[in-house]
Amino acid sequence: MSELLIDNISMRFDLPNGGHVQALKNVTLDIKSGELMSVLGPSGCGKTTLLNIVAGFLAPTEGTITLDGDRVVGPSPERGMVFQQGALFEWMSVRENVSFGPDMKGMSRKESAGTVDHLLEVVGLKDFKEKAVYELSGGMQQRVALARCLANEPDVILMDEPLGALDALTREKMQSLVLDLWKETGKTIILITHSVEEALLLGERLLVMAPRPGRVHKEYRLPFADLGVGNDLREVKKHPDYNNTREEILEMIWNMEEEIMGRTEENA
């Protein structure tokens, strides 16, 4: 039903000094409804730029994005966003943050109460409903951000390193939560991450991007996300293919980084 088409996107930033950066070049992707796609790539390969274009915060210099046949021209509630951190509203309580989307639609507190309570229960923050967000830990704040995004019932959820700032243990719990929510709600999710493990565990599809210009390097279809739903993620990691794929991708990204370093050294 909600098919996200990224059609031949290119993005070029003109720099003040007259030069330019080709952040993305001819990126084409077809993301089906309910797919969970993780995106990996060396720093600066255009992951955030791609996500910002899909979210509608940036207009690509070439190409189009369509969701369900409608062209994306700006941000809209059907494409929800979860940021790395600092995107919660400190002046609102946990509940007010989560009900922000419904509030914007003009829903009364009563109407949204059911959804909000349910989501807070799902992310395990039922008892923190009336707390101020600055009183929560980093992991709890990201759960609020997740609940806030879900409360708006978007078709596509875009996540830019949502778990990047968390410690390993909290991160693992959050990964399970993301998987469970994905299965339960059937949302389309694009998740950018720097962690190869996270990309493997969560990505039903895994996209490796290459830099300069930013482009799709390789794509995988992986079984681990399905295995991970409702299961211990550490068990999934024991899957025979897991380590092989991990090594392969690590090698790939390592080589790209090497290449960048080498190239900058030549320039220098």
């Binding site: 509608g56 809209s76 600092g86 400190e90 922000f100 708006n152």
Partner: protein
């Protein structure tokens, strides 16, 4: 005297420090997180205002105030100026070489006698010159009065049988030979001869300040009471204070009312930023005090000119605060709000305005401080009411106690305003500094 006070002050600072440190070590050795830190010097978070020191600091100032003024409070005091009756003899030498002694009686009275009240509630009177026996010989006895901290040339020869015009001169004071231009020191003061050979008396000033320079604390307190009840220049202290405050509140209110939207506009649109930038950047470094003359030329010396002055003082500060409040909003918050379906208007209300509140409060504190300082200055220049006018007029009449009371009140109110805004900020912007 200045050096004495400075040394005493430094002594109190260090002495109290070691005393308090010693006492706390004995009685309250506490183990908390800070006390366990081994690195405290340079760790800003380990430095907290020692409230004992704050209290002692205020007490020290009050004690010094008492000690170095003519206070009647029973506390340690610096040496007093001489007050009372003093006598000295002078020896006059006639042209023929004959000498004769005569007595001079001087009553030294309080310099602020007319500002004191006697038992009947009447203002004190300057004592009259006492009647004394002229005595015998060609030099006759004299009497006069002189205020503390005063200086008096005493024309002792007026009643003498032989005067300076006849070639007679004074050769000794209290039996001590003396030349014109010299003086001898008595415990009660200095007696000497002017260059022309006339005796003068300068009472000993001790180490205390006279009322004109610094009134004693109880005098200031009493004056405070008077000002409350009777007022000064047709208005009570409350009225003077209120009119000053009212000007500040009005000026600040209108300045904020216009400045904040102006700042928002500058933070949100290119056109407004470009249009108002030159004006704001130009007006920002102009001190409000420099505008007083222009305000008086344009709007006269009434309320209008003062409120407009304070309005201008607050306007730029609030505009700049609001502008930086808007610029300070994290783009992720704005993006998040758009993705959650907020309209521009909702973004403004739900994200930009709340996000700018901490900056606006910081601006409000600065603006209130500047307005309060400016109103006093403006009233010093021209006003019929207000704390600034009160101290200005009082200073012309040398009523230092009113000046001191006024200054203390200005300080206390300024401080209270600041604390008030800080409390309001804590209540309205609890997330400030915790993001």
């Amino acid at each position: 005297m200045g050096i004495t006070i400075l040394l005493l002050y430094v002594g109190a600072f260090l002495g109290a420090f070691f005393a308090v440190k010693y006492i706390t070590q004995i009685f309250f050795s506490r183990v908390d997180y800070t006390s366990l830190k081994t690195v405290t010097f340079g760790d800003e978070s380990a430095v907290k205002a020692n409230r004992v020191a704050s209290v002692l600091s205020v007490i020290t100032i009050l004690l010094l105030w008492v000690a170095f003024t003519n206070s009647t409070l029973p506390l340690p005091k610096a040496p007093a100026p001489f007050e009372g009756t003093v006598e000295f003899t002078y020896t006059a030498k006639a042209p023929d070489g004959a000498t004769d002694d005569a007595n001079v009686t001087i009553i030294v009275y309080r310099e602020d006698i007319s500002q004191t009240l006697d038992e009947n509630g009447e203002p004190g009177q300057i004592p009259t010159t006492p009647e004394i026996e002229p005595g015998d010989g060609f030099a006759k006895n004299d009497a006069t009065v002189v205020p503390r901290y005063g200086y008096k040339v005493i024309s002792v020869r007026g009643n003498d049988d032989v005067s300076r015009r006849d070639g007679s001169e004074i050769v000794a004071i209290n039996g001590q030979p003396i030349q014109p231009g010299e003086a001898i020191r008595l415990p009660e003061g200095d007696v000497g001869l002017t260059d022309k050979g006339t005796p003068f008396f300068e009472p000993a000033t001790g180490q205390r300040m006279q009322r004109l320079y610094l009134p004693a604390p109880e005098v200031a307190t009493e004056r405070l009471g008077d000002l409350f009840v009777e007022g000064y220049r047709n208005f009570t202290l409350i009225e003077h204070t209120w009119i000053s405050l009212q000007r500040v509140i009005l000026g600040f209110f209108f300045g904020t009312l216009l400045g904040v939207p102006l700042g928002y506009a500058m933070g949100l649109t290119n056109w407004a930023r470009g249009w108002f930038d030159p004006i704001v950047e130009f007006m920002r470094p102009v001190p409000p005090l420099a505008l007083i003359p222009l305000m008086i030329i344009w709007f006269g010396i009434g309320e209008q000119s003062k409120v407009i002055l304070l309005f201008l003082a607050a306007l730029w500060i609030m505009a700049i605060a609001a502008r930086s409040g808007v610029s300070g909003v994290a783009i992720t918050k704005v993006h998040a709000a758009y993705s959650l379906g907020a309209s521009k208007w909702q973004i403004l209300r739900k994200v930009i305005i709340p996000n700018s509140l901490p900056e606006i409060f910081t601006g409000a504190r600065v603006a209130m401080g500047v307005c309060w300082g400016t109103v006093v200055a403006a009233e010093l220049v021209a006003a019929e009411r207000g704390l600034g006018m009160m101290i200005m007029v009082a200073s012309k009449f040398q009523l230092t106690d009113i000046v001191i009371v006024g200054i203390i009140l200005i300080g206390v109110i300024g401080f209270a305003i600041d604390v008030g805004i800080r409390q309001l900020e804590k209540f309205l912007v609890p997330w400030k500094g915790r993001i």
